[in-house]
Symmetry: C2
Subunit: 108 residues, 2 copies
């Protein structure tokens, strides 16, 4: 198991959709770096039994959780608890890098 | 439940020891902002059944995990899996802000 990572090395974008880049995964907790070009989205969804935290490393994120929507900038953080609908859009103009922590990883 | 936070608002340091500032907590996942003045430490410890991730927001962190020790800078990240001994020191000269994610919160 690798214990140390530099997120710059995990950074990868795709032209057609946001890219999930894996950093760590255990049976209890996983961590991905999500990379969004301007305009790219993660569709609104929900999962029962798993909680998720988003942390903005760079850029802006328009984050919807439940009925609330907020634009987050660098060093802002959001929790989507089990069952809460959530999604993300990069409003641009910068690229968005988002750390995502989830416990536990949903099975679907 | 508050879904959105700015970590700058949670930032608090103590002169005599590192300060843990709570951000989010659920039964599966919790997230703290740890603030270290230069020279302050989190003593090496371990917990069975919980995994922890450290992410450096600002400053430098000398992180020990198992038998490995590494100096992490901004945007570097580390995993201490269940049972792995881990600890942190701020080698200075800057203040260290570290995001800590743990699943689940240990009972002790």
């Amino acid at each position: 198991m690798e214990n140390f990572k530099n997120i710059a090395q995990a950074m990868q974008f795709l032209p057609d959709k946001m890219k999930k880049n894996g950093l760590f995964e255990t049976e209890r907790l996983f961590c991905d770096l999500y990379c969004f070009e301007p305009g790219q989205t993660q569709a609104v969804h929900a999962h029962e039994g798993s909680d998720k935290i988003y942390f903005v490393v760079n850029g802006k994120a328009l984050v919807q959780i439940g009925d609330s929507e907020k634009e987050l900038g660098q060093n802002q953080i959001a929790l989507a608890a089990s069952g809460q609908r959530h999604g993300v859009k990069n409003p641009g103009p910068e690229r968005l890098m988002l750390l995502v922590f989830m416990a536990p990883k949903p099975s679907h």
